[in-house]
Symmetry: C2
Subunit: 218 residues, 2 copies
Amino acid sequence: MRDAYIEELDSIFDDLAGICRRVEISVSLATEALMTGNAAIAERVISEDIEIDNARERVEETAFNLLLLQQPVAGDLRTVVAALRMVSELERMGDLSVHVAKVARLRVPDVAVPDEIRPTIAQMAAVAEDMVSRVSSVIVGRDVEAAIALGKDDEEMDGLRRQSFAELLSDDWTHGVEAAVDVALLGRYYERIADHAVSIANRIVFVVTGHKPRAVGE
Amino acid sequence: MRDAYIEELDSIFDDLAGICRRVEISVSLATEALMTGNAAIAERVISEDIEIDNARERVEETAFNLLLLQQPVAGDLRTVVAALRMVSELERMGDLSVHVAKVARLRVPDVAVPDEIRPTIAQMAAVAEDMVSRVSSVIVGRDVEAAIALGKDDEEMDGLRRQSFAELLSDDWTHGVEAAVDVALLGRYYERIADHAVSIANRIVFVVTGHKPRAVGE
C-alpha cells in the first residue's frame, strides 16, 4: 500500500514535468508564429492548449484521490498541495502562450512586432522559454539550487520589459498605436510566464526544504 | 471534535469572504486613484496589499492544518481544496488592483486615462467592482444562482474591452502611444479581475453541487 502511494506521488511529479514540457513547446511555437506571422503555427498553439487543460485535470484527479484515499501527512501533504498549485500555474502559462499566438494570428499576414523592437521581444521570448525549460528539470530533479537560480532570470525579464517600454515610448517609434499596444501586451504575457516559472521553482524549494525561499512573486 | 471541524471549515469561508471584501476596497480605491490622479490613494492600495497577502497565508495554514489533522473526505475535502484555490485567486485580484494603482501613480500629477475613454474605463472598473462585491455574497451564502449569473457580467467585460481597443485604435485617438499602452494594460488588469471573479464563482458552484458549471475561465 505504502509503495503504491509513493509511486503515485512520484507519478504526479512526472506528470507535472510532462505538462511543463508541453508548455515549453507551446511558448516556443507561439513565439515562432509571432515572429514569422505564420497563421498555421498560431492555430496549432491555440487548438493544442486543450491537451494542457486535460493533463491538468488528470493531475488534479490523481492528487485529489491521493488526499482522499491515502490521507498523507506532513511533508507528503505539503507536496500534494504544492502539486495542485503548480499544475494551475502550468495551465496558466499555456493560456499565456495562447494569448501570444492570438496576437500573432490577429496580424497575419503582417508580423505584429516591428523590426526595431524584434531583438528585445525575441530576447524576452528566449528568457521565458529558457525558464520554462529549466523548470522542467527543477521539477524532475527537485533541484533546489537550480530553482533558486531561476529567480535571477526573472530580473533579466524585468529589465527587458523596461527596455521594451523605453523603445515604444521613444520619439523614434514610428509604428503607431496598434503595434505599441501589441508589444506592451506581448511583454506582459512573457513576463507573466516568467513569473509563474519563478513561482513554481519557489514551490519546489518549499516542498524539498520546508522553507519558502522568498516572497513568491505571483 | 466533529463540531470543531465543521466550525473550522465555516471559518475558512468567512475568511475568504473577508479577503474578498478587502479586494473589493482595493479595486475601488485603485480606480479612484486612477480617475483622479491621487498619489496618496494609489500608495494606500500598494502598501495595504500586504494585508491581503497575510490573510491569504492564514487561510492556507488553516486549510493545511485541517487536511492534516481532520483528514476530510469527499465533499469536505473538495471544499478545502477549492478554498486553497480561491484564496490564491483573491490574492491575485489584490495584485491586479495594485497594478492599476501603479499605473495611476506613474502618471501623477496627470491622470492616466484621457477624457474620451474615461466612460469606457469607468464602466470596466464598475463591472469589475460589482463582480468582486457579488463574489463576497456568493462565498458567504454558497449561492449557486448568483454564482452562475456572474458569468454574464463577464461577457459585458469582454465587450467593454473590445470597445476600449476600438477607441484607442481609431483615427480620433490623439493621445499618443503612452496613454494607449496605459489603457490597454488597464483593460487587461480589470479583465483579469473579472476572470478571477467568475472562476471563484464557478468553484463555489462545484463545492455546492459537485458539478462544474462550465469550463472555468482561467
